[in-house]
Amino acid sequence: MLPDPNSLAGPLDPAPEAGWSAAPPRMGFFTDTSVCIGCKACEVACKEWNDVPTSGLDLLGMSYDNTGALTANSWRHVAFVEQPRPAGHRTPPFAGNPTGGTTSPSSAAVGATTADPVGTEPGVPTGSPEAAARMSAGPEFLGMPGAQPPGRATGAESRSDFRWLMMSDVCKHCTHAACLDVCPTGSLFRTEFGTVVVQEDICNGCGYCISACPYGVIDQRKDDGRAWKCTLCYDRIGAGKTPACAQACPTESIQYGPLEELRERAAARVATLHERGVPEARLYGHDSNDGVGGDGAFFLLLDEPEVYGLPPDPVVTTRDLPKMWKRAGVAALVMAAAAVAAFVGGSS
């Protein structure tokens, strides 16, 4: 059988491509961040169901986000972004008041150098202080967190308009999953639901998937050396149940279902939000023509993806693999020719 011309990039139904016959419809997540309340029930439910080890407990200086990133020990990660701009409707409650950041650039810069020892590698790596300072980008140093909210002690003139973005991040279960493509042991595989799962009894911890993931999702546990990530609760969905995080989500920010249906629902939700005066609502990872062929877990965001720590235009690295092998072939021929010439040419 000839491989699908889109087997490395482009729109594709991944389960039949991987060899499943009579595969069920592709299942996935639609995470609507506009209704996320940042309760982290998804993080907790995931840990409990999947028996994910503790990832430590400490403060990272990133708003209420002390998980930091998706790691081998955190398969759901709720991001918190504080922005000095009016929230929700176009009628700001403090119209005319000065606006400003919630942390000073200097706090943010120092915060970016804190790492959380979550027991995984690379885990939550330290960031760039310059970029962190720029993110906070406020004109005012509000001091250390005190007993009172920022602005209360100093009076109304220093209060700022403010909105809070929250997003529960997860493995994207890409149509073209670089982690799966590069895995040299076959430990990562495509399930009949079109999701991507690591078989922990096969994985030998080579770490290739970690460098290959364009979203920085998959990660390695230090104590057991293997790579771990979200399985989209393969055990639960196989039994017709909802994944633990979606089951626990109290606002239905995390929705689970057949991907086609979720995409329709998401398009309708964006239209509703635009109608209601939230023009910045946009979908991320829904487009099967994007660099990874569309995500199995996609999002509704209220700002640019990079604000949430997502890559703006991820591309599966193996899209360019045929060209890479060609270049390597040419280089190998040149190398062999150079060696032959070194011995044949010349007199000494």
Binding site: P125, A133, P184, D320, A342
Partner: protein
């Protein structure tokens, strides 16, 4: 894990001390209140409100002098996970290339009657391929499971392909090297038979090793490029050429170190060819990739790349001008080997640095999105 975890709030206290130190260190604090807000995500006038001295994890201060590209990030944290590979993989890039270069040198010596090149090449190839295997297995999270690599063969996984290339090359190089011991065996008995059989077997094995050597030297370029690491992936047209050149140069270095002047002619020509390939490809990697070329210039990787250029160029020149002097030839050989080591570590750590900084992920992708958006608007009009 929980037993060795520091008390809750420990890092917060260190964080607070860090902020305090930053402020005491003459950091800029802006005037409170008033004024228009700086647009979120754009560089404001207050961005230098931290002290470079408070940064941890010695990545060198040089980066601070590079003009900042403006981009938005999530608390400055990297988007990608930096590679978990340690220095062993950089070392493997060198030893793998050295094994390939030496095997080619040995085969050439074998076919053109230059026993010094043959011997040195075969022994080095075996030593280097053994070291490679050690480095590769040692870097695994589960070294005892290394054989799991052999349960599949996947064209989409350069590491799988590399495993099989190594599995073909290693035994061939091993047999060729063992055959060099034939003259040491007694002339009679079973060992005497081995003494007569080994040289022709070694001949075939040496040629087999040389046939797989170019693949061994160049697949590592694909191994690094087939990742999301910006400075590796974007360099995919040049990395295999760079590594091929580096492998030839290191193989030639062995020949220059080991062979007498009468036999070293091919090693000299190989040194020049390898250095030319390596320097050209390195120059392209360092200049052609826009922002993601930057990690090849700054910090420790930049230092390594510059050292590689100087050492490789000096080695190639020394190989040509030192044709009458054994000492100059040996020095040139050592310089070529050192240059190859520096190039491999430079490329490796430049990639790691590019994955650690969100700038190299976000800025090129954002530019691509904007270009697509513009194109869509134009075609829509």
């Amino acid at each position: 894990m929980s037993s060795e975890h520091p008390p809750v709030g420990d890092r917060f206290r260190r964080f607070r001390d860090g902020v305090a130190a930053g402020r005491d260190g003459g950091a800029v604090e802006s005037a409170p209140g008033g004024g228009a807000a700086t647009p979120a995500g754009r560089a404001g006038p207050d961005d230098r409100g931290w002290s470079p001295g408070s940064r941890r994890g010695g990545r060198g201060g040089e980066e601070l002098r590079v003009p900042e590209a403006e981009f938005v990030s999530y608390y400055g944290r990297p988007v990608l996970k930096p590679p978990v590979w340690h220095w062993d993989i950089a070392a493997y890039l060198f030893t793998g290339g050295l094994a390939a270069g030496s095997a080619l040198l040995a085969a050439g010596g074998q076919l053109t009657g230059r026993p010094a090149l043959r011997q040195a090449g075969r022994v080095t190839a075996l030593a280097a391929v053994s070291a490679s295997t050690y480095f590769l297995i040692h870097d695994l999270g589960r070294p005892a499971r290394f054989h799991r690599m052999l349960r599949v063969a996947k064209l989409t996984s350069p590491m799988s392909m590399g495993t099989w290339i190594l599995a073909a090359f290693g035994p061939a190089a091993g047999v060729a090297a063992v055959a060099e011991a034939a003259p040491l065996l007694p002339e009679r008995g079973v060992l005497g038979l081995a003494r007569r059989v080994l040289p022709p077997v070694g001949h075939v094995a040496g040629l087999a090793a040389a046939a797989t050597a170019p693949a061994l030297a160049t697949y590592t370029g694909v191994l690094l490029a087939d990742t999301a690491v910006p400075s590796w992936h974007e360099a995919y047209p040049d990395l295999p050429v760079l590594f091929a050149g580096s492998a030839l140069a290191s193989g030639a270095g062995v020949g220059l170190l080991a062979a007498p002047a009468a036999q070293a002619g091919p090693a000299r020509r190989m040194a020049v060819a390898g250095a030319a390939l390596e320097l050209t490809a390195a120059h392209r990697v360092e200049t052609r990739l826009g922002l993601v070329s930057e990690p090849y210039h700054i910090g420790r990787p930049g230092l390594l790349m510059r050292a590689a250029r100087v050492l490789t160029a000096a080695g190639a020149v020394g190989a040509v001008v030192g044709r009458r002097s054994r000492a100059v030839s040996a020095l040139a050989g050592a310089a070529l080997l050192a240059g190859s080591v520096a190039a491999r570590f430079g490329v490796f750590y430049a990639g790691v640095a590019s994955a650690r900084d969100p700038k190299y992920t976000v800025v090129p992708q954002r530019e691509r999105v904007e270009r697509q958006r513009e194109a869509a608007t134009r075609s829509g009009d």
